[in-house]
């Protein structure tokens, strides 16, 4: 009686994790540096002076980034600093290019809003018009005391990119991914993350993807080298949706999660830092570090990242100045909305999201009238928004593919569709939601959300491969196998050459007890991806299920070759060989399996049975 173990691989649409960062840097008194003022005594009425009126604005809204070691290209800390860029400051604050903050003000306020009130913009204008008067030295408040180095104290663990990346002196925007291996030996709970991108002047923004299966390592040419790419996706094996938005842009300060909301990191997890960089005119060495802050408090609340999107509808004719795309999703459970992350590429223009509650009230979630890819950000609400079950979340984005759009990468404009490259477009809105008011006995509300979203996507786009695949994976996770098989079948019909979908369908058919139906799909998976461990493994299982042990052995042998340290594959190879009467070789593999994993039950049982057999009972 030989037993085989089975493995199922499923993939979910790529998600990435972000950290929300929030901060108010402490402003403590320092000795005031007396600036040489040109006059003392009373200031004429109506006169704007640096010392009294402008310095506080600069300290509060500019200096955080415009100081050494931070993102600004020059410092703005003193009168002489500001005077040297005065007209520029007046121009950029008037147009609201600086400080960089894309959303309009709204009633659901965001934390850390970097937006100058109109009155302050006017003051700056007046100050420059009046000749940039310095003013009375006694009216100058001391500069804020900024925290140097790690913003919230020494991290518990510091990860440094293995190799620096050389950003070339010139060229288009660069997207580079650094992989950080997390050297933990057991599960840890992370309450805060600080991303230090290496050189804040040249990294425009960065976000962390939690790679729980160390999958993205395969994309490195050699270990530690990193790899390129703007939009990165991770396949995952189990229902373990991303939960946190781990993001950095200039001005970001780490956010410490309240008790119960920590991010879980298991042994064998990589953190992948996706960075967007811009050339400076000379080569720059970029070597980021990440600081992790642990807590002993495990997570008791489980937020999740939901992605509203409608990439399929992106088919923007050349010259179209106002191409709208939307999506509407109705929440199946009560949630608190904590943060969001809107995303489009170069052609995005006006981006808006709103929620319509069951009682009819409408709440603007975000409105960005003039999208700028370079200043994308995660926006966290000052207070989470309660969105009851039945709330419809809507996104309405407008794209400009005309020659008049200065951000259009194509001259003349060309037809643009949805996709992963920077020259494609995207229509995404990530929501960090925390399910509330649920009965845990009725199951994981996140699964309810995920399934509802998957169904919504399937209805929206019946030809959407991803949507069918994800729905299938969701159903399989709930053991609704025949429905899952139905969805996997549609996915495979949509993309007959997709290795993952074929493997998933094969595995599901196996699980449902139909090895003879599964073999064809598993072979298709292997045709598309000959080094697909899971497909070899599953096909071995399928062939064994049809008593083709020679075929099974061949497949398990291939699997073992790909991953010699997989105890299950070793055990199953042994089982197939034993069925063929090749006891000596079978024994070797059972022993190998037990060496890797002393608790490998199948190997143990089979080895005992084999030894009995060999000794003639």
């Amino acid at each position: 009686m030989l037993h085989f173990g089975s493995r199922i691989s499923s993939r979910r649409r790529g998600q990435f994790a972000f950290v929300l960062t929030l901060a108010a840097s402490a402003i403590c008194g320092l000795h005031a540096k007396p600036a040489h003022s040109t006059r003392s005594g009373a200031t004429p009425a109506g006169q704007v002076t640096y010392n009294r009126d402008i310095a506080p604005i600069i300290y509060r809204s500019c200096s955080t980034c415009h100081r050494p070691g931070e993102a600004g290209p020059f410092s703005l800390l003193t009168y002489s600093d500001v005077k040297k860029h005065a007209r520029q400051i007046a121009e950029l604050t008037q147009s609201r290019a600086m400080p960089p903050w894309l959303p309009e003000p709204q009633s659901a306020k965001f934390a850390d809003e970097m937006r100058l009130p109109d009155a302050q913009i006017d003051l700056i204008q007046k100050w420059v018009e009046q000749g940039e008067v310095e003013g009375d030295a006694t009216e100058l408040l001391p500069a804020p005391k900024f925290v140097e180095g790690w913003q919230i104290g020494q991290p518990d663990m510091i990860l440094k990119a293995e190799k620096p990346f050389t950003l070339p002196a010139s060229g288009t925007d660069t997207y580079w991914n650094f992989i950080f291996r997390v050297p933990i030996t057991e599960t840890r709970w992370v309450k805060a993350v600080e991303i230090r991108p290496g050189d804040k002047r040249y990294v425009h923004h960065a976000n962390i993807l939690v790679d729980r299966g160390e999958v993205l390592r395969q994309r490195e040419a050699e270990p530690g080298a990193g790899f390129g790419g703007m939009e990165i996706r991770i396949e995952s094996q189990v229902f373990d949706p991303d939960s946190h938005l781990l993001f950095w842009k200039p001005g970001t300060v780490p956010y410490v999660e309240p008790d119960g909301m920590a991010l879980r990191l298991d042994k064998g997890t990589d953190l992948v830092l996706n960075t967007h960089m811009q050339s400076s005119g000379k080569p720059e060495m970029i070597q980021p570090t990440i600081g992790l802050y642990f807590t002993s408090q495990p997570a008791t609340k489980f937020p999740m990242l939901l992605q509203l999107e409608n990439d399929t509808k992106l088919d923007i004719p050349a010259g179209d100045r106002s191409f709208p795309v939307g999506d509407d999703f109705t929440l199946p459970v009560d949630v608190d909305l904590m943060a969001l992350y809107p995303h489009a590429h170069y052609l995005g223009k006006d981006m808006r999201a709103f929620a319509t509650l069951p009682n009819g009230t409408k709440e603007t979630l975000i409105h960005i009238p003039q999208w700028n890819l370079n200043w994308q950000a995660v926006y966290r609400y000052q207070k989470p928004l309660r969105l009851p079950k039945g709330t419809t979340v809507s996104l309405r984005y407008v794209y400009d593919n005309s020659a008049e759009n200065p951000m259009n990468p194509n001259h003349p404009p060309v037809r643009v569709k949805g996709g992963n490259r920077s020259t494609d477009e995207m229509c995404h809105l990530w929501l960090q939601v925390l399910p509330v008011n649920f009965d845990a006995k009725q199951g994981d509300p996140r699964m309810v959300l995920q399934e509802a979203l998957a169904r919504h996507n399937v209805e929206k786009n019946p030809a959407d491969f991803e949507a069918h695949y994800n729905l299938a994976a969701m159903l399989q996770a709930k053991d609704r196998l025949s429905e899952a098989i139905g969805e996997y079948t549609i996915a495979v019909r949509l993309r007959p050459d997709d290795a993952t979908a074929n493997n998933a369908l094969g595995a599901a058919l196996l699980a449902a007890g139909h090895p003879e139906q599964s073999a064809g799909y598993l072979q298709a998976a292997l045709k598309a991806r000959p080094d697909y461990f899971d497909a070899h493994y599953n096909l071995g299982f399928a062939l064994a299920g049809q008593n083709d042990f020679a075929g099974a052995a061949e497949q398990f042998r291939a699997a073992v070759e790909l991953q010699p340290n997989d105890a299950n594959a070793q055990a199953n190879l042994g089982a197939a060989l034993a069925q063929m009467g090749q006891f000596a070789e079978a024994k070797i593999h059972f022993e190998q399996a037990l060496k890797i994993d002393p608790n490998q039950a199948i190997a143990k049982e089979n080895l005992e049975a084999l030894e009995k057999e060999m000794s003639g009972h």
Binding site: M98, A169, D173, S280, N374
Partner: protein, 200 residues
């Protein structure tokens, strides 16, 4: 005995020609020139009469200036047989040592001038860094025409917004036109970057 007290007087002839105002201004440099990094007065328009002269105005603390460095260096090298480039630093607080460091950091092999009095700035009518002034070849009386002044290209929409790629190339077009003795359609196109007037 009477002695005549003859005091020899040294008359400094600046060799200045009047500045004539034309639609495309003919420029001559007064004795208030700019300075090379060794402190010598230099008149970039009187050297290299057979070449087009390009003055590139930059600030060390201007990220827009910085980003153009590889392109400026490359174009200067490409056209070196017929065009002479100078980097001009109008910030009076830039020391020669600091400028030398800046040149090395950005891989510049071009000659650099300090223009603390903004003589070249005013002559070239530039307002922003980076902006350039392109002069045609000198005539027999050593006059040159200012063919173009302004931005290098349209890469920057505003100081914090760039296009994916430039779609116009005013500096290079002006150099090519000047080399052929022609003019350009727009002899002045304002640039985006940092203000030279903020340095006053």
């Amino acid at each position: 005995m009477r002695w005549n007290n003859l005091q020899p007087r040294l008359i400094v002839m600046a060799g200045v020609l009047a500045l004539l105002a034309f639609a495309s201004p003919r420029i001559a440099l007064s004795q208030k020139s700019a300075f090379d990094l060794d402190g010598r007065e230099v008149n970039p328009l009187s050297a290299d009469p057979g070449k087009v002269v390009v003055l590139v105005f930059v600030r060390r603390d201007c990220p827009v200036s910085a980003r153009y460095a590889p392109m400026i260096q490359q174009i200067a090298q490409e056209h070196s047989d017929r065009a002479k480039f100078w980097l001009v630093y109008p910030d009076k607080s830039d020391s020669p040592a600091a400028i030398r460091e800046h040149l090395a950091a950005y891989g510049y092999t071009l000659p650099a001038l300090r223009d603390p009095g903004h003589t070249l700035v005013k002559m070239a009518r530039v307002q922003i860094t980076p902006e350039v002034a392109v002069f045609d070849r000198a005539r027999r009386d050593h006059d040159r025409h200012l063919v173009y002044e302004g931005r290098i290209d349209d890469l920057y929409i505003s100081a914090s917004r760039t296009r994916p790629a430039a779609t116009t190339h005013e500096m290079e077009d002006a150099i090519v036109a000047a080399m052929a003795g022609k003019s350009v359609a727009r002899s002045e196109v304002r640039g985006v970057g940092c203000y030279i007037s903020d340095l006053e």
